[in-house]
């Protein structure tokens, strides 16, 4: 068995009497693209919030590269190498495309507050590196010609792309994508699939993606975990999961009958 970069062990989260996530265990392989699917309210985004430290874990554990990260502060988890995008895009809306990425690059610089306020030599040197890094990321992601545009004025598809670019600025080892294809037409979805594959290759990272677009999930994921009402319904290769009668009944069946 290959190395797991992320491993959930009996992860549970309850809000008062409601158990949103119930004893969920699965693993994301190093360098793999895994999918997390399930009907609305199945607890997918809750799992993302648990991994990234937004919610506190009720029971169970989360291991990232062999170490527990449960209940760490969100910024500390981001520093370790897990970043995410959001279901409803959360950009720094009033900032330019470049500033969005430049802000997220901050961990690549080491100068302190004192050095910044008094403009000591290290400040200038490291700022230059940050700017170069941000610009090269924009170049790779095809956003360089829009660097000065206020991010809120970008077309929807590019806002999604910018959010992924911003996440990449932290040099993550694991990228969590929460419904990246939401609101996209089939054409844009295909582009996005390609982008996810490219990003994985180029940045040598692992991806965990939540999605409702079955084409996207079946197209890019090597491993799928299915949730229903907070519990694990199925886990396995895309082909196996798609033919699992339980999954068809709970999820894919409902899709087809629409």
């Amino acid at each position: 068995m290959s190395q797991a970069i992320l491993e959930l062990k009996g992860l549970t989260k309850s809000f008062g009497g409601l158990t949103a996530v119930n004893e969920v265990s699965f693993r994301v392989e190093e360098g793999g693209i895994s999918g997390l699917i399930g009907p609305n309210g199945a607890g997918k985004t809750t799992i993302f919030n648990l991994i990234t430290g937004v919610y506190k874990v009720s029971a169970g554990d989360i291991h990232f590269r062999g170490k527990s990260i449960a209940n760490k502060e969100p910024y500390a988890i981001a520093d370790l190498g897990i970043t995410r995008t959001f279901q409803n895009i959360r950009l720094f809306k009033n900032l330019s495309v470049l500033d969005n990425v430049l802000t997220a690059c901050h961990t690549s610089a080491k100068y302190g507050l004192f050095e910044a306020i008094f403009r000591l030599p290290r400040f200038g040197k490291e700022e230059k590196v940050l700017l170069e890094k941000a610009m090269s990321l924009l170049e790779i992601m095809g956003l360089a010609d829009r660097a000065e545009v206020i991010s809120n004025n970008l077309p929807y598809g590019l806002q999604r792309r910018l959010e992924i670019t911003r996440a990449l600025a932290l040099d993550p080892k694991l990228l969590l994508l929460d419904e990246p294809a939401a609101g996209m037409n089939p054409d844009e979805t295909i582009q996005l699939m390609r982008l996810i594959g490219d990003v994985r290759e180029r940045f040598k990272l692992s991806v965990l993606v939540i999605e409702h677009h079955m084409d996207l999930i079946m197209g890019v994921c090597e491993h799928i975990h299915v949730l229903n009402f907070g519990c694990t319904l199925a886990d396995g290769k895309p082909g196996d999961v798609a033919n699992d009668p339980k999954v068809v009944e709970a999820y894919l069946g409902a899709e087809e009958s629409k």
Binding site: E73, N94, T103, I117, L130
Partner: protein, 299 residues
Amino acid sequence: MEYILGIFELSAINLVAVLGLSILTGFTGLFSFGHAGFMAIGAYVAAILTKNMHLPFWVAIVAAGISAGLVSIVIGRLTLKLKGDYFCIATMGFGEAVRLIFSNMNYVNGARGMANIPQYDGATLAIPFVVALIAIVLSWNLVNSRQGRNLVAVREEELAAQMAGINVLGSKMVAMIASAVLAGVAGALMANFVGFIAPKSFNMTKSTELTIIVIFGGLGSISGSVVGAFVLTALPELLRAFSDWRLVFYGLAVVVIMVGRPQGLLGGSELTPSGIRKMIAERKAKLALARAKTGGGQS
């Protein structure tokens, strides 16, 4: 002539406090209605050091900044976890509490205030301007650094900022301390410029005045705060001829600007060569867009 100089001195002093609040409110998005409290701490520290202990002005300024900064660490710990309006109310309570504490301290003459504080004179009259200049440069350096960008990220989208590896609480603390230090320094300048301080000089009206200046000048703009501080400190003086009506005009002027330019005079832009170029480009783009719209409607 001396009167005009006095207005400029007061503007420079207000500017230092406004810069602090600009970092907290304009860049980090935390609204405070208690910054007169930090000014009061600075003012009393400076008054005690220069009057009772006969120490030089610069010692008073540094000590005032440090004292206000230390208090802000405690206040920050207690209040920065509060969200939005709750933080506002907590700062309001802090400001009033500081005023009441000084009102009841016999060592500083309680509500009667402290008079005969050594005043700037001759060459030392330049101190407020020098300090204001230093404050502008340092604030500018802060907001144009990675730490400054983190503050703006926290203002824009707290959750996304966390996911971008930003320590939100730490960033808010940086903004809080910087703003308190500047307010404390402004208080010291005020005490040694006017020569008299009383708790009621640092009431909520003063706090609100500072916040109005920041909003008037434009959130997220250092140059906006500079322009705002000078305009809004001078305006009541220019309107002195209208005696009773001057505060009405003052209020009216603020309302008119806010209705006409909700983002404030220079919201989000700076008066630098590149900033001005950007503003002109944005205006042009807007005009072109408007023209395209009306043009499209006609054809």
